[in-house]
């Protein structure tokens, strides 16, 4: 039981994440991909008159069950079997974040940044609202995310997925180094 409460090392979490690829293929020749579920939900809830959202989303409803599972998995891992200790971050990361004015290092997300009142500050608005928008817009533009390109596409040795994954990381690295400090200082 202790194992469930402790965070899992990379060599446990990584292979389990990778095994979702053969699990979905064996169940129904399905390709791992999470960002397409955002399109699915848009198509189901508010397609408007947009051709991009007018398709038979029910045909691919398997992935909505999968993401419902991810939500449950998050509840199990983050609430039921929550790690009581703070994330064991590299000291250099903690030092850098302290320099940016952060004080709280417990939990998976910094509570001082990700909270309801913060939504009404420019900083919180940029982190959650603008950030979330970019995740949804960018992944659809790239036709895949860390799972669809980064895991499934790379597993299938698709070079465009390597370009996509390099762009995800390149964008994130540039942003975290050069832009995030200004946002955290707001």
């Amino acid at each position: 039981m202790d194992f469930l409460y402790k965070p899992w090392p990379w060599y446990v979490a990584g292979p389990i994440i990778g095994l979702s690829v053969p699990a979905l293929l064996l169940l129904g020749n399905k390709k791992l991909g999470v960002s397409s579920t955002l399109r699915q939900i848009c198509a189901a809830c508010y397609p408007g008159n947009l051709s991009f959202l007018q398709y038979d989303w029910k045909k691919d409803s398997w992935n909505l069950f999968m993401v419902a599972g991810i939500l449950i998995g998050g509840f199990l891992g983050g609430v039921v079997f929550a790690n009581p200790e703070p994330v064991a971050l590299a000291p250099a990361t903690v030092a850098w974040l302290r320099e940016q004015g952060l004080h709280q290092f417990d939990g998976l997300l910094p509570g001082e940044l990700f909270q309801w009142q913060a939504l009404f500050s420019l900083r919180g608005f940029l982190l959650m609202v603008v950030g979330g928008f970019m995740v949804g817009f960018g992944t659809r533009y790239a036709r895949g995310c860390t799972s669809g390109h980064g895991i499934m596409g790379l597993s299938a040795l698709q070079w465009p997925s390597l370009v996509a994954t390099a762009s995800f990381f390149g964008g994130g690295i540039l942003f975290s180094y050069f832009v995030l400090p200004y946002i955290l200082a707001l």
Binding site: V12, A13, G14, I16, G18, S20, V21, P22, L26, G28, N29, V34, S35, L38, C42, L50, F52, L53, W62, M66, V67, G69, I70, L71, I72, G74, F75, G77, G78, N83, A92, L108, L109, P110, W116, A118, L127, V130, G131, G132, M134, V135, G136, F137, R140, Y141, R143, S147, G150, S155, A156, P160, V163, A164, A166, S167, F168, G171, F175, L180
Partner: protein, 136 residues
């Protein structure tokens, strides 16, 4: 019945993302600053696991439970993998969440990330509205 199996795959996937701390905003910043091997270790074990499984399934002409031959996805190149990829990367650095963790962060009890999630839906919807005008 089958959908329950997809749900189960999602539960295990979400649990591994969460217990592996891949949904942690802190871990994402640590990764982007190359200050720990942890997140890279997850990728460098997840991808070979997926690649080896796919290779074996194809080598032995495995069929899925519903009798379909298992095939690999084809991901053709388009410029969106760069433009969209960079935009997503910026958003990833802000939210600490790629789409899988968007769901897992909500499940893990960080209810304010429902806003992040709703905003990602809005981003997808706006893409659907404007994609014809974007370079692809």
């Amino acid at each position: 019945m089958k959908n329950l199996l997809y749900l189960t795959v999602g539960i295990v996937f979400g649990l591994a993302l969460t217990k592996g701390e891949a949904i942690s905003w802190f871990r994402i910043q640590e990764m982007f600053h190359f200050q720990s091997f942890h997140m890279y270790g997850i990728f460098m074990t997840a991808v070979p696991t997926g690649a080896l499984s796919l290779w074996l399934l194809q080598k032995f002409h495995a069929k899925s439970a519903d009798g379909q031959p298992i095939d690999a996805p084809h991901k053709p190149y388009h410029h969106g993998v760069i433009f969209g990829g960079l935009i997503f990367g910026f958003g990833w650095a802000l939210t600490g969440a790629c789409p899988g963790p968007l769901y897992a962060q909500v499940g893990a009890g960080y209810l304010v990330t429902l806003v992040t999630f709703a905003s990602a839906l809005a981003g997808t919807w706006v893409y659907a509205r404007v994609y014809a005008y974007l370079p692809d």
